[in-house]
Symmetry: C2
Subunit: 272 residues, 2 copies
């Protein structure tokens, strides 16, 4: 299978995995964003993934291309964080290569990324200095000679997806290792997701609802992992509170991608 296809399959497997508390899955839509929107994105992003695989465009242009290609549906931005992780992993064919790709990003990559960002409604931290809706940001990037890696590292403190670029994809790796060590194929995706949710505050939740909500989510996820609380009940409570762990979902996609590339068999159904 081509790397572009593994990325698409990773996006598909992640969104189908059920029950994935707080997030869209095969049994839950949000009012404005449905299972079908996530799947349409997985289908329509392909040319950008192929360009990354062939290295026929820079990483910033690839991310912008993926955002444009998938902006044709009404489900809004479905995978911006996942693109930030998948593109270096595709271009570099794994984590080591991805870190090399990241180290070589340019000012042009940063500018394309900002153009991509402006097409989405991704939430900024209030402390973020560079506002995508401010035309002066582009000038500032040029004046300061900021690369995409610089931009992403500015966001790393408050964004666990961006942090993956500086810590060698630590959490993506953890998800991949979890899956590779599990004998029960796609059924392990929910457990990998929950194990991350139990130990890492989701920065998407923090941006949307504050740190307290993210910590509540961790405590509940721990209980689900310990078997003292039902995943289905957790799911309902997340939906009622408007909690969706979007960043951990993005990292889960990157982890699935890595695992697929390293031979993980999502179709295995051995009993755990």
């Amino acid at each position: 299978m081509r790397r572009s296809e593994s990325a698409q399959i990773a996006m598909m497997l992640e969104v189908c995995a059920y029950p994935k508390p707080g997030n869209v899955d095969r049994c839950h839509d949000y009012d404005d964003t449905w299972l079908e929107h996530f799947l349409a994105s997985a289908i329509l992003a392909r040319p950008a993934f192929v360009a990354a695989e062939n290295r026929s465009a820079g990483i910033g242009a690839c991310i912008k291309d993926a955002v444009s290609l998938t902006a044709v549906h009404k489900g809004g931005n479905t995978h911006f964080g996942a693109y930030i992780l998948l593109f270096p992993l595709i271009m570099g064919d794994g984590i080591d290569g991805a870190m090399d790709v990241i180290s070589r990003t340019t000012v042009d990559d940063a500018l394309s990324f900002y153009e991509a960002f402006a097409l989405t409604e991704v939430r900024m931290n209030e402390t973020d200095e560079l506002d995508v809706n401010d035309p002066e940001s582009a000038q500032y990037i040029r004046d300061e000679g900021l690369t995409l890696a610089d931009i992403i590292s500015y966001s790393a403190a408050g964004d666990m997806v961006c942090r993956e670029w500086s810590n060698g994809f630590a959490l993506s790796r953890r998800v991949a290792d979890f899956l590779l060590a599990s004998p029960d194929g796609k059924q392990a995706i929910v457990r990998a997701f929950l194990s991350l949710l139990a130990t890492e505050p989701d920065t998407f939740i923090i941006k949307k609802l504050g740190r307290e909500a993210a910590e509540w989510t961790m405590i509940r996820a721990k209980e689900v992992c310990a078997g003292t609380y039902e995943a289905e009940d957790f799911d309902e409570e997340c939906l009622a509170r408007g909690i969706n762990p979007g960043s951990i979902a993005d990292i889960t996609i990157a982890g699935i991608y890595l695992a697929l590339r390293e031979g993980w068999d999502w179709e295995s159904l051995q009993t755990v």
Copy 2:
């Protein structure tokens, strides 16, 4: 959107539509074939659809290519019937063009189709003279100069998908018209499926379980359409009896494809 992408989106929307009695949907897997297998096929078939769109390969080769590309998962053949309908519709850019494509099929197309067929486990009618597992069939096709259209027309009597090639895609058209006349987007897919199921004996059911099972299915589907029987109960009863209306699902995909190409908005959610 490109025609190849419309075909992929059609496959995705059809399998996600719920509740689709007897078939895989977002809430039901079969033991051996899952939602994810259908979606993996929708993702992986793309190069064959692109070849059809670009007319860079013949229709027989395209069908064989789609079957090969999607045979990498363990879910078995998911879309053989759908390919028989989608490829002429993509190549011809609609029904009129498809009928022209069909009228020009060749002996080579027939031979490629037989090679594709041999890769699947598609059920033959007992009366079918050409057995795909019999090497003499290929020789017979060559000796008699049979085109793919000839082959498909032999099967039309007992296979409603093949019949679409000779009747101008009558049932695919009916599904498309149903969707285009419905204001509630993707929610209309299940009603289109049920309305076909209520009036047409599914030839996949006939091949697998006999005519009586297909007629029972029609009666039950009529009751669901009339509102006197719940779709969810019908679904459970179909699963218990091993009834899956696979041919009508294939025709539903072709109908969704046509509707998408003609401007149908699957994202509309107006109340019916």
